[in-house]
């Protein structure tokens, strides 16, 4: 692989007629001088993306094992003697926090964001590569600190991923001495690291787009990641402030969140704080967080469906407006997590209304995905299968969101297994199916080889059907009234014996689905060497990342000249065109004849 950008000076050099204004003043690329700066302390967004991805998947495996352990406890209480109540609560807390923050957020924004933003925008790299590198290493430190929670005295915190005070810092919660401090410190580190990365993603989208790439020509993947990043930058400070204040309460004896309380018969040395204040701060971050995970998934799935159905995404403008609208609205719905929290009950009217309004743009997105299939030319590739699986699980999870968002319906269902089933379906299973689909889709670009299709299909069927079988019936336990976060149900009058049978079924399915993921990991490793050669554009896709002169893209991405964009990202099956796709940097038959320089990478 020849690294063309290493040698000659690009910036300030004489640019060709195609893009005069652009090559002038382009930021200098950093040039790695050793193996360490190329692959370890790398400032290349593509390497950073893979580092983010692998780290997130590694910590995700930990969370997967934790979910197995807690499912074992729920189905077969006491079978594994080392799981006591303390451990159980530590497992659910770590599982939730890892999955939401350290896996999903990091993988979508740090992983796919880093890989796709520069490539899809025709940029050579992120705007601030050094900051980008720092972002990953701080993220890694945050992950290691989080894992350190398992080894500190008392173990990790068991306060639930919501970390509600006063419980989180009191003695009757596991991990009260060290675990909670480690957790809060790790979250703060994560936020600092994320801010560094997030600045990069935003500024690169604003400033790094290549010539001709107007906003409305960007693929929806970029729209999703961009909007999610903006939201994350504005929402994470809420968690940061909450974490700082709780650390003060825990370590310095302040009472931000601590009212006067009695612990084991003694008056505790606190007074005057407000536990609800933490909940507001937490959910001011927590709800946008749902969309921080969902919007990149929305964007990616749009591109997967469009590419593999060989059809332009239906209603592109509506899709963009919906992403932006959902992003904006998601900041005024946070208290729908707090309908039964004891806040002013009058707020319920406002938040129920905003929450159900947000369902409209979301529903429009779903319709548009399905309408993209209508009169398409649908190829059932593995990425497409995962995208279709996403639509089903997302519709299901989105519709149960209408139950929980409608304030009075939430009253009996909140804090039951219905909630657990809902959020796993909508922000666990659905985005993870997108992540899988995206990996099957972009792996050929990242490695130059295809993932194995047969293994991929087995992986899809087991994961999709298994996950549906786990979480669909779980809703009905919630309707029955089975609460979440119970170490064991014991004898409870209203819970019939059949519920235990269902729990056994769910646990066995979960074990199988979890084990299937090993197949996926095997596929990732095996195909790296033995996969079919992919070529530059195996899916015959239009977006820029498939038009790089080399696969995998070299350092600097674009060879001597950045591509010029002539069209939007969805010119599939254009009537009259010789092929069923026109790459974004393809000037088309009419322009090519007029003597305009055709950019590199057109095939």
């Amino acid at each position: 692989m020849v690294d063309v950008t290493h040698g000659g000076p690009i910036s300030g050099g004489t640019a060709s007629g195609a893009a005069p204004a652009f090559e002038v003043g382009e930021p200098d690329l950093y040039h790695p001088r050793s193996w360490v700066t190329k692959y370890v302390f790398s400032q290349d967004a593509k390497v950073i993306a893979i580092q983010y991805g692998l780290t997130a998947m590694a910590i995700g495996l930990v969370a997967l094992v934790l979910s197995w352990l807690m499912r074992m406890q729920l189905a077969f209480p006491g079978l594994l003697p080392f799981i006591d109540a303390d451990h159980y609560y530590q497992f659910i807390t770590m599982h939730g926090m890892i999955m939401v923050v350290y896996l999903l957020t990091a993988l979508f924004l740090g992983g796919f964001g880093n890989y796709l933003i520069p490539l899809m925008l025709g940029a050579r790299d992120m705007m601030f590569p050094y900051l980008n590198m720092l972002s990953y290493w701080i993220y890694l430190a945050a992950v290691l600190l989080l894992v350190a929670g398992f080894f500190v005295p008392g173990g990790p915190t068991g306060a639930g991923w919501t970390l509600y005070p006063p419980q989180a810092i009191l003695a009757n919660t596991p991990g009260q001495s060290w675990g909670i401090v480690v957790m809060l410190a790790s979250l703060m580190l994560f936020i600092i690291g994320f801010t560094m990365g997030g600045l990069n993603y935003v500024v690169t989208v604003l400033q790094g787009r290549t010539r001709g790439l107007t906003l409305m020509r960007m693929p929806l993947t970029i729209w999703g990641i961009f909007t999610a990043t903006v939201m994350a930058l504005l929402a994470f400070p809420a968690l940061f402030v909450g974490a700082v204040m709780m650390l003060f309460d825990r370590l310095l004896g302040t009472s931000f969140f601590m009212p006067a309380i009695v612990v084991t018969g003694e008056q505790a040395p606190y007074g005057g704080g407000s536990p609800i204040l933490f909940q507001h701060l937490f959910w001011f971050f927590g709800h946008p967080e749902v969309y921080i995970v969902a919007l990149p998934a929305f964007g990616i799935v749009s591109d997967l469906i469009s590419t593999h159905a060989r059809k332009n995404i239906f209603g592109y403008r509506m899709m963009v407006w919906a992403i932006v609208g959902i992003g904006a609205l998601s900041f005024v719905v946070w208290a729908h997590h707090m309908y039964v929290s004891g806040m002013n009950p009058g707020f319920g009217f406002f938040f129920a209304t905003t929450t159900l309004i947000i369902a409209i743009p979301t529903a429009l997105k779903v319709y548009n995905w399905v309408l993209t299939l209508w009169r398409g030319d649908i190829h059932f590739t593995v990425p497409m299968l995962f995208a279709l699986g996403f639509i089903v699980t997302f519709i299901n999870g989105g519709l149960t969101g209408l139950f929980l968002g409608n304030v009075v319906v939430d009253v009996p269902l909140s804090d039951t297994m219905f909630v657990v089933a809902h959020f796993h379906m909508v922000m666990g299973v659905a985005p993870i199916l997108v992540i899988f689909g995206a990996i099957y889709h972009w792996y050929p670009k990242i490695t130059g080889r295809m993932l194995d299709t047969t293994l991929g299909k087995i992986h899809f069927w087991m994961t999709f059907l298994g996950a549906y079988l786990i979480f669909f019936p779980m809703h009905y336990l919630g309707l029955l009234g089975v609460p979440r976060r119970y170490f064991e149900m014991g004898e409870t009058a209203f819970v019939p014996a059949s519920a235990a049978t269902l729990n056994v079924f769910i646990t066995i399915t979960a074990l199988v689905v979890g084990a299937t993921q090993m197949l996926f990991l095997f596929n990732l490793a095996w195909s790296l060497r033995h996969g079919r050669e992919a070529g530059g554009n195996p899916w015959r896709a239009t977006t820029l990342e498939w038009q790089t002169p080399e696969t995998p893209p070299a350092h600097g991405n674009w060879g001597a000249e950045r591509p010029v964009v002539y069209r939007w990202a969805y010119d599939y099956s254009v009537p009259g065109a010789p092929q069923d796709f026109l790459p974004q940097n393809d000037p088309g038959p009419d322009l090519a004849s007029s003597g305009e320089t055709v950019a590199e990478g057109v095939r």
Partner: protein
């Protein structure tokens, strides 16, 4: 291709499961049948949407699957179709939201005749306080809690003297009478939840939250804590007994008042 069939089966299976599963609401024991009605409306609307969209998708997958020579249509958007879909969705959403808000307005307004009963949560047990003969609860503050005053009743408030205190026992409620549950916690966030009553609300240390209900059916119901409150959370259980007025009065007469509770401490001080 198989995916189209499987998606159809997912819809059919989900609907069948919904109707055949043995797991459903517990038989209701309060006036909050409205909440069940709202849930049922939501089930019908969302169920129809789920079935329609997924079945339509399955049809598309079947009808427009790739065959040699097939080419997709080029259709960037269809404003009219999108507008109608938006309007239809808005109508469906409004049909769920409107009854929800009406019931919520009902839920948060305690009727004038409701009796107040205080529920106090602490790790990991429930205590209750009922008004005595004067029909009023005395003021309370967590800072007042001590060995002889486990609920922190203000000793200087005359209204509190005859308050009935039930610690660790069952709560009895008269059937057919609206009751306002005033919720207080001494340590962490708890949540007083009786599945048969449908209602629940967190109890926040440092403030008093509430909800109200009218028990409609006699019987004995299990109380659960519905907000993670430490390792003992799953064991924080209790019992509510709903019974006829006469039985309720008989039970009430046997309970200890705050004054009686403090009496041994005072005699101790005299010696």
């Amino acid at each position: 291709m198989p995916i189209a069939i499987v998606l159809g089966l997912v819809v059919v299976g989900s609907v069948l499961f919904h109707f055949l599963s043995p797991w459903w609401f517990t038989p209701i024991a309060s006036n909050w049948g409205y909440i069940d009605d709202t849930i049922n409306i939501t089930f019908w609307i969302t169920g129809a949407v789920f079935a329609a969209v997924v079945l339509f998708m399955a049809y598309c997958l079947l009808r427009f699957r790739h065959k040699p020579g097939r080419r997709a249509a080029y259709e960037p958007e269809n404003r009219r179709l999108e507008s109608w879909l938006a309007i239809g969705t808005a109508v469906g959403v409004a049909a769920m939201l409107a009854p929800g808000l009406v019931v919520w307005a009902h839920f948060i307004r305690v009727p004038a005749g409701a009796t107040s009963v205080e529920v106090v949560g602490q790790q990991w047990q429930w205590a209750y306080r009922l008004p005595g003969k004067d029909g009023r609860l005395g003021a309370a503050d967590t800072r007042e809690v001590n060995d002889t005053n486990p609920l922190g009743i203000d000793p200087n408030d005359p209204n509190g003297r005859d308050d009935v205190i039930v610690q660790g026992g069952e709560l009895h409620l008269p059937v057919g009478k609206p009751v306002a549950l005033l919720l207080r916690s001494l340590d962490v966030v708890h949540d007083f939840f009786v599945p048969e009553f449908r209602a629940k609300m967190d109890m926040i240390p440092g403030s008093v939250t509430y909800y109200w209900l009218t028990p409609t059916r006699t019987g004995s119901f299990e109380v659960l804590c519905a907000e993670l409150c430490g390792v003992g959370h799953p064991y924080m259980r209790g019992t509510v007994v709903v019974e006829a007025e006469a039985d309720y009065q008989a039970w009430l007469a046997q309970q200890q008042t705050f004054e009686q509770m403090q009496a041994p401490a005072q005699t101790g001080a005299l010696n």
